[in-house]
Symmetry: D2
Subunit: 412 residues, 4 copies
């Protein structure tokens, strides 16, 4: 019996306001109604808007990045009810493919203003900036970062099942506690529930109100369900195992990335895009107990771009910050230093720092925890693929300054 | 003109006291005299003792691990003067091979007692434990952790050039400041200079006294020179670029590992061994400026064990600790959680937790920084190679408890 | 300046007769008019029909394979004039992507009847047979060969530039000579020009007649231009360098494959499909001389499915045929024997031989020339990826016969 | 219980005449007595002389290659009796390591004179030539072929179990028939038994005489047992499954290679060396029936040098020979043409043809059967790793002639 073409269960309209489309939502909450139902073992296509719902344009100014409204983000497609899934089961999500929209073969990488979103290096690079990437099949290149071209490790930034009420309460409690404990820090440390611009899918007004008050924000990934993990390797052919917390699982997906580096350091750091993801869903009954699962696990697919181990330059960083201060086994500090080492290295060729910061966020950079026990220094490494550059970046090669243009900046 | 066999520039005698051999030392200090001279572009073999200088035995008790004297560790071979190397140059170290001692084809992985050394998970696993590994060519297996066997990603845990007096002062100052700032923490946060059991190579008494008072301890890797980075990928065929701080570079190497996982989480976590490393040295004149180098960089070799991307199970961890407390973008907490997830998963097959803790420390585990900007959660991943096990550990496989013995524990 | 979506330079209509569409042709001849013009450095999408022009159906009978009309095959899209290309140049073809038709996510693998087309093992397996493959994103599976599923190494079977009149004459002469020399062999050894069902694109009647009389058949690849090389690795991201023989190059492409094994042994052995290929064209002026090029070269792309070297079982075959006869360094005989060894091995699980023959033709099998000088035996090897099976095929595993259905056969 | 160092079951003395040492032999015959006994599941080290038994020197003349005595070759270490092995079993040979002799870190690649041995391209390159390779750990380089350096894919050229009398008779019959059928060809097509310089290990005179008369020569690999397969991938960590034909298996091994390309085209084409191989032996009872095994199979190890798919240039060749003659699906002709294409390509940099011929024989070249059904042309490909060269050989790079010296030639 011939099998027909796959069903597209969500078709997005990029000309519409993402905040109002019934197949989207932007909070995690168990009461958001399922938009559609998918059979156990069924494969479907799901279209997704880009994570900003279209706020960023294909142009040469970062004004849109500067002015982005962060209450209007992370519109996810779904939730989908998966037949037979019950709390305690594991939902197995096989990512059969991810593609950009046929008619919109481009994406963007942004550095948010320190005042509006920020990023991993915002104390050093506080200005908004942007790069537009053009897609040609599996490859991408940018008029804002000349000299590089690479195959995308295409993946969704966000996927997960809805939390139960109990899980949701845990999230709100513990993040609330962090916020109250960190009031002395001069920065936003977590995002509490926020009714402004809440989108609860097809939920009626009372649901919407409730979701606005209680619904978990989508920014952090969370151990209980995954969510916004931004794991670059959830690409074509990978398999993700997600715990189910509510009847029917209520699975959602979005924030598609054409490519991303480990850490996604500039926050809007992947090559963000609208697109379509093809997923096969299957339910592993009792899987949470069977796998003793507290957080998702995954198995990468076989078609990740391969450069060969000897085609990476690895940079080392330690938990001594840029002011010379020693931190105690602080891996976050170490990874920030590692990033800075790559910026210093690539700057020699004529890139400006913001171009490199953008590039490290979105190119297939390997970020490793190397040593995490040699007190007081954690050591992390960052592997930069040599072959994404069209000139020779190996240490032995000359470093004649090149004309490498600029990324997009804001008008003020 | 035929080329003869390579010169072995240091030959160790494993029956002697490492604390007295002239070719060894255990501090970083510019005044430790060079033990020998190596030409620019020369390749030599260098033998190394294991990092404890022979304190750990091939037996089934962890008493030796419990009682280890941590003032008598990290005996490094060297220092070596590299001809023509001057401050500002980069020393290029090509690792042509690393081999265990022919007559001592075994190594050990230890978990230190929380009271004596500790490790990444010592709050949860405070007891000393040990696994002995037998080498058969490129492969290793352990009577203390049955069911696994893998090819070593063999490498030195420590290599670097001597600090200048100025660099040394920086180290001592900043680590001293950390110690004084962290006096409230109930743990050792850094190791200041320590005269007890100092070994200054061939240095006379006055040098030895000075090195004891000022010499940097070898435990942490440090940004200015590398040192104890414990980077698992500095294996056969890799190339490391090290900044030179003193005339002649004064290069030292030691702490050889038959294998290690990213993070080396149990601290004595690699498969520690005595062995021989073959290195080609060459000097890149003015390399520090040319590469804008603040920390070492490296390029891995082509013969790393390859499992295929789809032959890893990846576990996710977030900066929510085991008590449910939310931390702010704390990658160290996230990586600890990731480790615990793997322990929970593998425990189902019949291993005890200490066996798994040892295994994650020494097997070729991939530890990645996945997302580091999605406040408040950093997300890290740990990739466990499926093919090192002789049974099927994939999520879909059954998990019949197996008879998997035990690692070595201490007698009390 | 934003770049728009890529141009689709040929759009095929699968409901039409391929033998009459102006954008197709089925011979190599310099006089076939260019269908369209492509700029130097332009990237375009080109749709292609399957190589049989739609003769094979998505059903469970091999009657269509048995009855295939081999004069109506290899409809290629093109020819395309590439601006600035001249004889002596090299046309650089970067394959940015290959995709099946969105609405026709399936393909077929056929074994032709020995009486009508035949194949590599037709003396042993003379019957027609067929397998239909369903595509789910990058993966494929077949109701006719249960137990396997794999990511496609998707590629065009045929691409090349038109021959000059001189090159064409060389082809016709040397293949004609072979035919006349081999009249004693009881089989078709080459296909001379054939006016029946010739399709010369937009060529007028006189051109069509000439092409029918002189045009080279598309079945063999040929050293001077490539053509039907059936090289499985010309996949996403690869770069092919083709010699140009006529002004404008007159490039054609077709015979898309979702996947293929080295050798494509069953002749219709890839997973044949209609689809769309995205190509960037650029002209290397004087490239034939620069590269001393007599035959095409290529560089594979970075996203080939990777299984890890230890995830293949390799079978060996030698130039002793199945009747026990010794041949002299005959690599073709050796490769046939290697194929038979794999059939014998996989048969143990319950597959019938035709299923395996089909599988070896289309799965990503690695076929190597191992030793070709140890008289009288050439030795070839065939690497079978372990991970395309959903059961354990390693030698150590048990071989309980399974219910593995059957491929499609003909009704008589 | 600690495990001691591995047993070295054969220690060779390179200063002695290989033709007389009791642990060597140079024919396949069931009556050659076992030299030693190895337990089932035991791992041992076995030293081997180079395949010529020391006839080739580390010098700059190919006189020794020209004058080689081909009756004095392929001295194998063994035979070894493997306890419990019986006919019908499969001997599983796990290659744990292969190393060159510590004190003899060099090897050679030879092109034999067309009059004395010949090789794959001897009609075009009839002269003797030689390259000496120096080993530095895993890497090798040659004063005779400057500009290249690579990690060895180290392996034994020959391994196998002794034939039974029945198998031996089959070999002698079928190769004898080939010789008689090919008397018209102007070349040696197979080597019949040869009493001159026969070495039957510890066999007494009567055994030696019998082995001289009947013993199979070691040059060809043979389907029934493997033997001289020259498969480059039987490297560290690989597992070979060999059919057992006589009680105790009588396993032999030799002809160690530091590296080899697919095809080993120059016949003495690997980097030939003396060395030591570490093997774990285990017996799979009834394995021949279980695996339906007619020829050996193997699974490669995980540490093969990895260059990444995009770091090869692939050359295509077809079954049209260098005189323009069309052959019918002749893969051997196609592979010869493929080799010639690489020679033409590399010649542009300043190498002489013999240097390239040597290099293609011994470097880790990938030789693939690409298409073998598109009558009349078989198509083969040869993948040349870009990263073994210290200059840029990609098609886009300039090809300034370089000073690349010469291989060694004979004095006349």
């Amino acid at each position: 019996m011939p099998v027909g073409p796959l069903k597209t269960i969500v078709k997005v309209d990029l000309t519409k306001d993402a905040g109002k489309e019934p197949y989207l939502h932007n909070r995690w909450h168990p009461d958001i109604p399922s938009y559609a139902t998918i059979k156990n073992n069924e494969t479907v296509k799901i279209e997704c808007v880009d994570w900003t719902g279209g706020q960023i344009g294909n142009n040469d100014s970062a004004d849109d990045v500067r002015d982005i409204d962060l209450t209007r983000i992370h519109y996810l497609s779904g939730p989908f009810e998966i037949e037979t899934a019950e709390p305690g089961d594991v939902l197995v999500v096989e990512i059969q493919d991810v593609q950009p929209m046929q008619d919109q073969p481009w994406g963007f990488t942004g550095i948010f203003s320190r005042e509006n979103g920020g990023g991993f290096l915002d104390e050093i690079y506080p200005k908004p900036a942007k790069a537009i990437w053009d897609f040609e099949g599996i490859n991408c290149s940018s008029r804002h970062i000349p000299g590089v071209r690479f195959a995308g490790l295409i993946h969704p930034g966000i996927l997960g099942c809805a939390p139960s009420h109990e899980v949701l309460k845990t999230w709100n409690d513990r993040e609330g506690q962090l916020i109250s404990e960190c009031s002395h820090m001069n920065r936003v440390v977590a995002e509490p529930p926020q009714p402004v611009n809440v989108h609860a899918g097809t939920g009626a007004d009372d649901v919407k109100e409730k979701v606005g008050k209680e619904g978990a924000r989508t920014i952090p990934g969370r151990p209980e369900h995954g969510g916004n993990c931004d794991i670059k390797n959830l690409s074509r052919g990978s398999k993700v195992y997600l715990p189910v917390h509510v009847p029917g699982a209520k699975f959602s997906v979005g924030d598609l990335h054409f490519s991303q580096g480990d850490g996604e350091i500039s926050f809007c750091g992947a090559i963000e895009m609208a697109g379509v993801i093809t997923i096969k869903f299957s339910v592993m009954k009792g899987g949470v107990k069977h796998l003793e699962m507290k957080s998702p696990i995954y198995i990468p697919g076989p078609v990740e771009p391969q450069f060969g181990p000897g085609r990476y330059i690895y940079f080392e960083g330690f938990s001594v910050d840029e002011h010379g201060k020693q931190h105690y086994l602080d891996t976050t500090v170490a990874y920030r230093q590692t990033s800075l080492r790559v910026i210093e290295y690539l700057r020699r060729y004529g890139y400006n720092d913001y171009q490199i910061y953008l590039l490290l966020s979105c190119a297939p950079i390997q970020g490793h925890v190397a040593g995490i026990v040699d007190i007081p220094n954690a050591c992390t490494t960052m592997g930069l693929p040599i072959d994404i550059f069209d000139f020779d970046i190996r240490p032995e090669a000359p470093t004649d300054k090149r004309e490498l243009g600029s990324c997009a900046f804001a008008s003020s």
